[in-house]
Amino acid sequence: MNSIIIDGLSFALPLFIIAIGGIYSERSGITNLALEGLLGFGAFTGGLTAAIIYEYSSIGGTASMYIALIAALFGGMVYAMLHALLCIRFKANQVISGVVINILATALTAFLTNQINASLFGRASNRFVLEVSPRFSIPLISEIPFIGAFFTSIYPFEIIILIVAAIMWYVLEKTPYGLRLRAAGDNPQAVDAAGANVSAIRFSAVMVSGALSGLGGMCFAYSISSNVSPSIFSGYGYLSIAAFIFGNWKIGPTFWACILFGFARSAGYSLVNVLALPSAYSDLVLTLPYIITVILLIFVSRANRAPKSLGEVYDKGKR
């Protein structure tokens, strides 16, 4: 039981922070299918940073992890500017741009990882190995049955994610910038008439989505595999898109959607363990979040309302 909660949270939270990135981008009016590519590229940047630190400096494991997380954040942000540039400056189709960004990220990171490993570190490998992230439990509270599991074996990044998520919620709901961002996704003409710069708002929102995706991607790298390899591209970006759509493009409900996905996944693994099923079944379990997605889609699609101008190129002259 405890492992369901522990593993569920460590999967759900990175998913959540990526979904918040998606919410920023889409509430501003830019369709963002590029989350998958953004998280992968962010993780690549973080992984490369961690590898360089390991190879060339004496900075220890935990400190290098924080540096790697920050590097992933910037990597995702910079890479997201490509999506922003295509969609806003060049008015490209946002769906196509997103897909291209994803494909490019897969190819580019695989190529660069191999090349850098060969030339910089002198080994043939398609991955950057990370040090294992420490975990901690909160004394006393973690002793409480059931509830204690939420405070046991926590990755430090889970705390970071919760803090960042709270800040992102505050910015979106309580600040002038957030108000304009939300308005830009509904009626950009109104934002323009109010004297604010729609393109700048949208550009920054896409950059935020890149930064948060990069951060989330790096967290996945630390928690799931302890390395950055092509397996980082296994659909978590798409899953977070599903999460924020179920969450109706709102941060609160999206949190619960992510928790649901996380727990469904970890519960499935536990089930495989408890029933002592062959390992092939654990692959089946991996599909669980996606199956839930399909089923949920049937129920929530009707009530859901996407931002009104989502995916539309903003053209000042159009009435």
Binding site: L179, D186, A193
Partner: protein, 511 residues
């Protein structure tokens, strides 16, 4: 001249192929209601867009409060305390009234001395005060999408007031309102003037000008025809100056002599998405050569009746019989092919493909058969031929003929295009839903004459209109609907406009 707050001095604005404003000079006094009168396309909106910084004039000067200014953007106009309520509202539908009003000039407060956040409370207070000062009656916490059009318009007015606008421009504010709402808007406009604001009212409705305006400038085809004190000029004179020729209000109408039944609506009942009964047991007939109109205040089920007949909505109960045949379950295309033509209420959403060209739009109901399509391949040449013919016949004005993108055309010409398309179908039953809404006097007259001509050719016409005058001018039979029910069915010749008005308000009821 000292109290002139806005002076437009020899303004000329040219667009490709057209001079929208030709050497126009106006001066507007502080604290007056100044009306700009003209047909669609006369250049009123362009002139105000110049003042509001949306366009820059090719020639001429703008003088505000005695100082010559260059206005390059709405933002700069706003800084000069100029505000504008556009025809198409610029509101964010999923946000509250307050959020919409503060957008762009958000007030903030510091929380705990560091965290800066929106000052929703202060903004709400200020909006509440402004709202009660001018009798606007807007709830600052309501969501825009839950508000009716008239309240959204009041939000736009509040938006200007919140920005301390002193010169308020209204671009055809009454086009989207019902008669009662128009009255209350005119009250608000007067209250604003009495509060010291200067108001510029763009309109083509003469009676409104008579009711509220102090002075009016009449534009015709980009030129200034004259500036008049409203008290010293009659509506008749204004109308003929604005149209550019002598205008008569009366429509020549022959008396209806009776004919075969074309359409029978039998006990139709319709529930909407929220399970509310919007049409309640409605039955009536339309005969050959007859114009049957349904009168009523907006939202009493008239439009739904038309949609049911056209096939856009499926009735919850009842039958639609057309030429003796039950068509209740037939698709829209089948109905079209049987000879039902439909001019919808919302010409932009339902009637046209705004981003396609005129030739395509004019063939929308026949593109799939000969001569437009042969063996599954479209024939652009036929589209053009048909387009050019209709443009010529129906006097549809557009900048590039058949290749004009419909979005760029004026409302009146968009409507003409729909009517041309539908009439060219040579149907037997024509359904017109608010065919003249938002159009200028010339276009209204043109369309009304077309409707009369149809009935003279022996076509059956079902007309839904909010304009009582139009109903009285055109119909043979008047049906009044209230709350989804038929209040009364009367011969036009046996009823007065006042009586119809009573029925519309639900005051009289016939068992």
């Amino acid at each position: 001249m000292a109290d002139d707050i806005v002076v437009l001095d020899h303004i000329t604005k040219r667009f490709p192929r057209i001079v929208a404003n030709d050497d126009i000079s106006l001066s507007i006094k502080k604290g007056e209601i100044y009306a700009l009168l003209g047909e669609n396309g006369a250049g009123k909106s362009t002139l105000m867009s110049v003042l509001f910084g949306l366009y820059e004039p090719d020639e001429g000067r703008i003088i505000i409060r005695g100082k010559e200014v260059q206005i390059h953007s709405p933002r700069e106009a706003s800084a000069l305390n100029i505000g504008m309520v556009h025809q198409h509202f610029k509101l964010v539908s999923d946000q509250s009234v307050t959020e919409n009003i503060i957008l762009g000039i958000e007030p903030t407060v510091k929380r705990l001395g560091i965290l800066s956040r929106l000052d929703m409370k202060g903004a709400r207070e200020r909006i509440r005060k402004l709202s009660s000062d001018y009798g606007l009656d807007v709830d600052p916490d309501a969501k825009i999408e839950d508000l009716p059009v008239s309240a959204r318009q009041r939000v736009e007015i509040l938006k200007m007031l919140y920005r301390d606008a002193e010169i308020l421009i209204f671009d055809e504010p009454t086009a989207v309102l019902t008669p009662q709402e128009i009255d209350s808007l005119l009250h608000v406009i007067k209250a604003l003037r009495d509060g010291g604001k200067t108001i510029i009212l763009i309109t083509h409705k003469l009676d409104e000008i008579k009711k509220v305006a102090d002075r009016c400038a009449i534009l015709c085809r980009g030129k200034l025809v004259g500036i008049y004190d409203v008290n010293s000029i009659s509506t008749q004179e204004m109308a003929s100056l604005m149209v550019g020729y002598e205008y008569t209000d009366e429509v020549n109408k022959k008396n209806y002599s009776g004919g075969d039944t074309i359409l029978q609506v039998e006990n139709v009942t319709l529930y909407n998405q929220d399970k509310v009964k919007v049409v309640d047991d409605v039955s009536f007939c339309v005969h050959k050569g007859e114009i049957v109109s349904i009168a009523g205040v907006a939202g009493n089920g008239q439009v739904e009746v038309a949609d049911v007949v056209a096939g856009m909505l499926i009735p919850s109960a009842g039958r639609i019989v057309y030429k003796g045949m039950d068509i209740t379950g037939k698709s829209i295309r089948e109905r079209t092919e049987e000879g039902i033509a439909y001019i919808p209420e919302d010409r932009q959403d339902v009637g046209l493909l705004l981003d396609c060209d005129l030739a395509v739009n004019l063939a929308l109901k026949s593109y799939y058969h000969e001569p437009y399509c042969s063996r599954g391949i479209l024939k652009p040449v036929e589209f053009r031929k048909n387009g050019e013919m209709l443009i010529d016949q129906y006097d549809i004005r557009s900048s590039e003929g058949c290749s004009t993108i419909v979005r760029s055309m004026s409302g009146g010409n968009q409507q003409k295009a729909i009517i041309a398309r539908e009439i060219s179908l040579d149907a037997d039953l024509y359904i017109f839903v608010q065919p003249t809404r938002g159009l200028d006097v010339g276009a209204i007259k043109n369309i009304q004459e077309r409707i009369l001509a149809l009935s003279e050719e022996g076509k059956a016409v079902l007309l839904i209109s909010l304009e009582l005058e139009e109903i009285m001018n055109l119909s043979d039979t008047v049906i009044v609907m209230y709350n989804g029910r038929i209040q009364t069915v009367r011969k036009r010749s046996e009823v007065t406009a006042n009586e119809i008005g009573y029925y519309m308000m639900g005051a009289k009821h016939e068992a």
